[in-house]
Amino acid sequence: MSAQLIVFFVLAALAVLGALSLIFQKHPIHSALSLIVVMVALAGLYLLMGAEFVAAVQIIVYGGAIMVLFVFVIMLLNAGLEEHTSISKMAGFPGILLAIALTGFIAATVARSAGTFAQIPDSTGKISGGLSSTHDISTAIFKTFVYPFELTSFLILIAILGAIVLAHREKH
C-alpha cells in the first residue's frame, strides 16, 4: 500500500467519522465542531489531489468564515439540546428507508460507471506539470469565466444587503 493511499484512507476515515459525529451529537455546537473536522479533512484530500488553491479556499472560507458564522449564531441564539417529539420519532423509519434507497442508487451508479472512470487517461503527469497551479486558475477565472466571476460579486453584495435587512431589529 503506497503512502498516498494511506493518507487518503486516514483523511477519508476522518471525514466520515466527522459526518457521523454531526448526526449523533445532540448539541448544535458539537455538530458544528464535527463539521469543521470534515472540512479540514476534505482540504487535506484536495491537497492530495494537487488542488492547492481549492484547499486553501476551503480552509479560509469554509473552515474560517462560514463555520465561524455558524458558531456565532449558535452562541447568539443560545441554542440548547435538541428536543424530539413523537412526530420526529415516527419519521425515523421512513427516513432510514429513504436513506438506504438513496445510498443504493448512488452505489449502483458508481459501480456501473467504474469502468468509465478507468477509461479516462491517467493524468498524473499533467496535474503535476503545473496544470493545477494557482496561476492557471487565475488565468481561467479572469479570461474564460470573467462574466460569472463578476456576477458572484453582485450575488455577495445582494446577500450582504439581504442579511442586514433580515436581521435588522426595527424600533417601534
Binding site: 498516498q4 493511499l5 477519508a12 471525514a15 466520515v16 459526518a19 454531526l22 448526526i23 448544535p28 455538530s31 458544528a32 463539521l35 470534515v38 472540512m39 476534505l42 484530500l45 488542488a51 488553491f53 481549492v54 479556499v57 476551503q58 469554509y62 462560514i66 458564522l69 455558524f70 449564531v73 441564539l77 441554542a79 428536543e83 424530539h84 420526529s88 419519521a91 427516513g95 436513506a99 438513496l102 448512488i106 458508481v110 472512470f117 478507468a118 479516462i120 487517461p121 491517467d122 493524468s123 498524473t124 496535474i127 496544470l131 493545477s132 486558475i137 481561467a140 477565472i141 469565466f145 460569472p148 458572484t152 450575488l155 455577495i156 446577500a159 439581504g162 442579511a163 433580515l166 436581521a167
Partner: protein, 100 residues
C-alpha cells in the same frame, strides 16, 4: 495515484450522511449544517473529476460553489435569527404556521 472511484465513493458516502442528518435533525441550525455537508461532498466529486480529466474547470466550479455557499449561509442564518426572534424556538416542528 488514487483511483477516481475511491473519491467518488467517499463523496457519495458523505452526501448520504448529509441527507440522513437533514432528515433526522430537528434543530434548524444543524439542518443548515447538513446542507453544507452535502455541498462539500459534491465539491469533492468536482475536484476528483477535474483531476481525472486533467482540466481545471471542475476546480473553478468548486470556487463558485463555495462563493454561493457563503452567500447562502449569510442569508440563511439571517432567516434563522428572524425565526428564533419571532417564534422563540429553533425546533423546526414548532415552526408550523402554514400547517392546517
Amino acid at each position: 495515484m488514487i483511483p477516481t472511484t475511491y473519491y467518488i465513493a467517499l463523496s457519495a458516502v458523505l452526501f448520504g450522511l448529509g441527507v440522513l442528518a437533514f432528515i433526522f435533525k430537528r434543530n434548524i441550525i444543524t439542518i443548515f449544517m447538513s446542507i453544507e455537508l452535502m455541498l462539500n461532498a459534491v465539491n469533492l466529486a468536482f475536484v476528483a473529476f477535474s483531476q481525472a480529466n486533467g482540466k481545471l474547470d471542475g476546480q473553478i466550479f468548486v470556487l463558485f460553489v463555495i462563493i454561493v455557499a457563503a452567500a447562502e449561509a449569510a442569508v440563511g442564518l439571517g432567516i434563522v435569527i428572524l425565526i428564533a426572534r419571532n417564534r422563540q424556538t429553533l425546533n423546526v416542528e414548532r415552526v408550523d404556521l402554514l400547517k392546517l
